[in-house]
Amino acid sequence: MKKTIRIANGQGFWGDSVHAPLDLLKYGKLDFLTLDYLAEVTMSIMQKQKRKNPNLGYASDFVQLIKDGISYIEKNNIKVISNAGGANPESCREEISKILKDNSSNKKVGIISGDDILHKVENFHNKGYDLNHLDTNEKFSSIKDRIVSANVYINSFSIATALEKGADIILAGRVSDPGLVLGPCINHFNWSENNFDRLASGTVAGHIIECGAQCSGGNYSRWYEIEDLVDIGYPIVEMSESGDFIVFKDKNKGGLINKLTVSEQLLYEMGDPQNYISPDVKVDFTSVNLVEKEKNIVGVSNVKGFSPTDTYKVSICYFDGYKAEGSLTISGPDAKEKSKLASDLVWGRLKKRGIEFKRKKTDFIGLSACPGGVDDENKSANEIVLKLSVHDDSKRKVEMFGKEIAPLITAGPPGVTGFSGGRPKPKEVIAYWPTLIPKELIKIEVDVR
């Protein structure tokens, strides 16, 4: 058995670099390449695609990656672990299998399923499981007729099982993000379900690299210190049996890996750091020890874990009306005052016709719109992007809003431009409903062929 294994991440979300995973396959000195395509609402998009066309509903970028990368996967013997299956892992496998056949490859593709409970949630609710909103405790009955997708964050042992059965390419659905890294560790080192410190180590390793370049110099506070961001290297973990690991990157690539880049990512999307709950283990992030070993190599050790909860997190997406947003650029002089007038005109004209919205928002981009107005009182700008948005159950009302933006160019203050892309159209709002479900209700299946 190899003493250490190398696991890289080449995709932090669907839409991340298409070159990074291919570069990692070419780099070659890897055992596993992981790819995370699923954000919280991605599943709902995939379910909608699948409803329109039963052959769709997976991360199509992944199919292209396999097409472009199969020769390197073969040559460098790298196993690829992804959640690209999305809402339709079977169809994704069919596409991958065609590519493998065309390239005379014997690689096996594993599917992990059981996470999709779209057609079971109502039954679970009828049986008495409350499925209330995890944060707000709202009642499930308020959304039960509007559900678009429902997926369980299943455990990482499913990935280990797929590897055990000989999978070279894994298409999971909704597994936990760090689980893509923990899974191969469980498989290689034979970590047991009770070895909480080891499971916690693998989870921390996964957490550090799951957002791709965000631990290797991307989105970094001291961005001005990084020499080369053009050719930023995506992160690689080298895990040992003890649970100690290093985070590094291809030496020939740019970016930066040090204690601060890793610490920033450790805290990314973090709640209570002593109670980080995954399907496999509860992790104490206050136990983690970081050491800068060499330039661009950080060592991580001493990770402590505890027994997991007896529930899985479920990510439910539901239809919640329509929204639209429109933007115009307003130049100086008096950009701030004219922007305020322009927004008053839009809302005033709609109100005059009796149209009001469940929610509406006015943003002056250029005047601290991002953090919601911090420090904007005394600031001015020589030009401002005025962004207006609305949300309502009535599609017609949202359409009416879309028709009130362009008239500002000729019937508003002077110096209004930047109208492009036509009238803002109503878009369906797919809202997110996190909840919990007892683990024993979920049956995970692993199919490798």
Binding site: S263, L267, E269, S287, P434
Partner: protein, 105 residues
């Protein structure tokens, strides 16, 4: 002496539904100890008063000289439901780095 938080710490923010978190990692133990005393939940809540509807919760990570602030209900529902320009709280860390501090105070 008046300095900016960004002079003594790195920050990174992100979302959790309608909540956001901001990780603040201090460069020195001295500044971390100072922040543990003075960078309170209420200071953060005041700074982001226009967007925070719930509480602010602070966690300490002595191992990496960091504080983690949870800004409850500050993202207008979060995800695709939010009408905020930064619906995922990506920029809040940078906004906090501009906070002025009197570190002798």
């Amino acid at each position: 002496m008046i300095i900016k938080l960004g002079d003594i710490a790195n920050t990174r923010s992100g979302d959790k539904g309608s909540d956001a978190n901001i990780g603040v990692i201090f460069h020195t133990l001295k500044h971390y100890e100072w922040a543990k005393k003075y960078l309170s939940e209420s200071i953060i809540k005041d700074y982001f008063s226009e967007i925070i509807k719930g509480d602010v919760i602070r966690y300490e990570l002595d191992n990496i000289l960091a504080l983690n602030f949870i800004l409850c209900d500050c993202l207008d529902g979060g995800g695709s439901k939010s009408l905020m320009h930064d619906a995922q709280g990506k920029t809040l860390g940078q906004a906090l780095s501009m906070m002025e501090l009197d570190i002798n105070g």
